[in-house]
Symmetry: C2
Subunit: 240 residues, 2 copies
């Protein structure tokens, strides 16, 4: 397994479950991650198709390296989430916050997985993407959701009162991954974590969480399965 370390940052190129099981108990202070949603796709083949065709409009010019692990059905996706969330729970110190991205379709299943893994669910923080695709005669899918939870009772990382909704545009020029989250959004979410803590991210993707952690002086442990995204993220994070 490939492993890189620089400053407070540790990166692993490998499967999240395999890497997590090798990590010691109670060694991180927060979990913030954006797992594959495995949503979209009505038929089995559509669901197992390349996410670029599941989630992107045909004719879109932008292309990204393929995304791995986005082809599960809802039952196995929930079971899989519960397992990695359980590992995260073990690895997190008491009082740690957990923040997980999800879309509307998987929100109920993700809340089951979070609670099933032992976390105490604290709420939903919607993220307004602003420029979602329009739909005639329907409400558009304009938000994604951050489920937040804690291990035991939340150890406050700040005395500030944080918003319950973030509005932050997706800037496609800054995206390196089909589903890259804006670094500014992650930076805001990090406000709930201790300033001297270590943040765990088992699905590093394009590395937005790692970048925000370095900028905010948090330690970071990132895991990514795809070698291509691992290389991209490593360079992005190292450069900060």
């Amino acid at each position: 397994m490939i492993r890189d370390q620089f400053g407070d940052v540790t990166l692993y190129n490998g499967d999240a479950l395999a890497v997590l099981s090798d990590m010691p108990d109670e060694s991180v202070d927060a979990v913030l991650t954006d797992p594959p949603y495995s949503s979209g796709g009505v038929t089995i083949t559509a669901r197992q198709a390349d996410p670029a065709s599941k989630y992107q409009k045909s004719g879109t010019m932008r292309r990204y390296p393929p995304m791995l692990g986005d082809a599960k059905d809802q039952r196995s996706w929930t079971a899989w989430c519960m397992i990695w969330l359980g590992q995260c729970w073990r690895v997190a110190r008491d009082g740690s916050p957990l923040m997980v991205f999800t879309d509307w379709r998987q929100l109920p299943a993700m809340s089951d997985a979070v609670q099933g893994a032992g976390w105490k669910w604290l709420g939903i923080v919607p993220w307004d993407k602003r420029n979602a695709r329009p739909q005639i005669g329907k409400f558009r899918q304009q938000c994604e959701y951050v489920l937040y939870a804690c291990k035991g009772s939340l150890l406050l990382g700040t005395r500030a009162c944080l918003p319950g909704l973030y509005s932050c545009p997706v800037v496609s020029a800054q995206k390196v991954h089909l589903t890259s989250k804006p670094v500014s959004l992650i930076r805001e979410l990090l406000a709930i974590t201790r300033s001297d803590g270590i943040v765990l991210d088992p699905f590093m993707g394009g590395g937005s969480v790692g970048i925000a952690c370095r900028e905010a002086g948090r330690g970071y442990v990132g895991i990514e399965l795809s070698p291509e995204y691992y290389a991209i993220s490593r360079e992005r994070i190292r450069k900060i």
Copy 2:
């Protein structure tokens, strides 16, 4: 059972399930309602307390008549929702939209109930209340959620592209019910319904939906269990 009718408005003072079962199949064009959430208590006694003490800070001066039917545990609440949502499904014409308010805690259970009752889930529309109570060191609970769904395939009531998020402050001076929704919010949501249609609301409460329906020229069928709220709503709606 008390029943009032004026213009396109029909009001029932009675239990939602009882009234719904007497209604004919396929007789309304949309369902928009704000049921009791039955959330907000950890212990059984706290859960079964009067909602005015469950959902309000101590020391709040404003008092509302007691709210009925808000003392179920989550399992029975889900089952109960599935039953009345199933009745709504029967009463709705093919292609009708359904919009149900819920809070974050009950969102997963409500999505189960909606789908279990036969509705096709189409998404979540967050409502940003703007002025939620701040919480030190945590994300505040700033949003409630509208689950929306349809019977069969949605019959479009408009060609417009509707937003996926509504931001609308709660003006407590205008509230007649502890959980009154702003009329302006309801008016926006009604945009998805046919302009000549009838809207069903089995939990009329303070009557916001009825008022918005009259303003927007929609027919309205409202049901309310509490005689006190029934009287208040009837007068508010009649005056429009």
